[in-house]
């Protein structure tokens, strides 16, 4: 048992893993913010162009959501990091992970916001427009606030999944928690750093997973 919790190895691994926590959180928060913003933007565009001559744009947005739902995040990350340089686009590991996670979350978030928007009764649109509000105002002040309420539980769950997917960045040498643990593991030939990293992930994500479960029962729209 000692080999799994070797105190010397754990002490040697901790500084790296501690600095990895900062990288993991930084990558998670920036990609979640970017993904949610992208999803909201696309769903808004899709809602406002209905019926206008720009209709194909809505189809393009739906196709984007489908493609990035079908694409494994790791495949996307590997393409961005290892293939994009051939097109002259050199992304750092962190940037590649940020773009990949943001695009994947953006696709889910678009779908979630769109489902929320379409679930708002048409009568709400009509009533809002009949009071003299413009389309944009009706969307922002009447439809969106009602839609967002419905999107909170699924959006929370996708955000948590994005946070966990930051571990993929270890593949492109981003010094986050898993990457730090793996490099100490390689030096010491001990499983202790990996267990320490696993403990860190549980401490970070178990409360969030419980929160997601609680939101689902509270809003009860699963």
């Amino acid at each position: 048992m000692r080999i799994f919790f070797d105190p010397e190895v754990l002490a040697a691994a901790w500084p790296g893993i501690r600095s990895g926590i900062g990288v993991t959180l930084g990558l998670a928060l920036t990609s979640i913010a970017a993904g949610v913003a992208l999803g909201l933007l696309l769903a808004t565009v899709r809602a406002l162009i209905q019926g206008a001559p720009l209709r194909p744009v809505g189809g393009l947005i739906a196709a984007y959501a489908d493609v990035f739902r079908a694409m494994p995040p790791l495949v996307l990350l590997v393409v961005l990091y290892f293939a994009a340089p051939f097109a002259g686009i050199e992304l750092s590991g962190f940037m590649a992970a940020f773009v990949a996670l943001g695009l994947v979350l953006g696709a889910s978030a678009e779908e979630i916001f769109w489902a929320g928007i379409t679930s708002v009764n048409r009568g709400q649109w009509e009533a809002a427009l009949s009071t003299g509000l413009s389309r944009g105002e009706a969307f922002r002040r009447v439809v969106l606030p009602q839609a967002v309420r419905l999107t909170i539980p699924p959006l929370t769950n996708r955000a948590i999944a994005t946070g966990k997917n930051t571990a993929l960045a270890s593949v492109v040498a981003v010094p986050e928690v898993l990457n730090q643990a793996a490099s100490v593991q390689a030096q010491t030939a001990s499983p202790a750093p990996l267990l320490l990293a696993a403990g860190v992930y549980v401490a970070l994500f178990l409360p969030l997973v419980r929160l997601g479960r609680w939101l689902e029962t509270r809003f009860h729209i699963r």
Binding site: I3, F4, A65, D66, V67, R69, A70, M71, P72, P73, L74, V75, L76, V78, V79, F82, A83, F86, A87, A107, S108, E111, I112, A115, P153, P154, T156, N157, R158, A159, I160, A161, K164, N165, T166, A167, L168, S170, V171, L178, A182, Q185, P191, L194, L195, A197, A198, Y201, V202, L204, F205, L206, L208, V209, R210, G212, R213, E216, R222
Partner: protein, 223 residues
């Protein structure tokens, strides 16, 4: 534009690496054939245990499920594939990957199936029991057939996630589609194999995404 094609969709490179990629695709499919049925099986076990257990048992199971979900799948995979050998257990790589990803995905299948069971009104239980069916027979003949149908879109959605998850196997050196594409890229110093692999994943999974849409499914899967 033709330079772009020569770099990213080079026909010669793609033809030469197609053998490697097909071998990788076969490994990916094998991983799917372990992870999807395995996840469904253990998920069904979890759902039944949570349904039949007393309240405190169901509560502890839900904590156990959440504990597993708190691990990023890649961390669980690395932990099992690189940790088990220290216990003197060295499963073949495909089996190690299969075990890790099955553990992960069965918690999601389990919750979905449980939601399906809970979606059936209690009066159905009472009616079935009053005709003389036992608990297991009621589950098998009355509750599960209706409950599973109610959550079919979510089951399909989680199957999509499980297949996507198998790409992680490349990280622990299993020669799957993604891994072979990286190897071929190294050999030819050209990204075409990677692009081809990405297109293969799309060809494999796009129909599933369309199917989920037809079933009325959402991206609303738990984390």
């Amino acid at each position: 534009m033709s330079e772009f094609f020569q770099t990213f969709l080079n026909p010669g490179v793609m033809a030469e690496s197609s053998g490697l990629l097909l071998r990788g695709l076969w490994v990916t499919l094998q991983a799917c054939l372990i992870v999807v049925p395995g996840g469904l099986l253990f998920g069904a076990g979890l759902a039944l245990a949570q349904t039949l257990a007393p309240a405190w048992g169901a509560r502890s199971l839900s904590w156990g499920v959440d504990l597993i979900r708190a691990f990023p799948p890649l961390v669980l995979l690395v932990l099992i594939v690189h940790g088990l050998p220290f216990l003197g257990i060295e499963p073949p790589p495909l089996l190690g990957v299969g075990i890790a990803l099955t553990i992960n995905t069965s918690t999601y299948y389990g919750e979905i199936l449980r939601a399906g069971i809970l979606s059936i009104e209690p009066t159905q239980w009472e009616a079935a029991r009053s005709t003389g069916l036992g608990t297991m027979a009621t589950l098998r003949h009355v509750i599960l057939p209706q409950g599973v149908r109610n959550v079919l879109p979510d089951l399909a959605g989680n199957t999509l996630e499980a297949v996507k998850l198998t790409s992680l196997a490349s990280v622990v050196a299993l020669p799957d589609l993604l891994r072979m594409a990286r190897v071929a890229q190294g050999v030819h110093f050209n990204p075409s194999p990677l692009i081809l692999a990405a297109l293969l994943y799309l060809a494999l999974l796009w129909p599933l995404v369309r199917l989920i849409r037809r079933l009325g499914g959402r991206a609303v899967l738990p984390a």
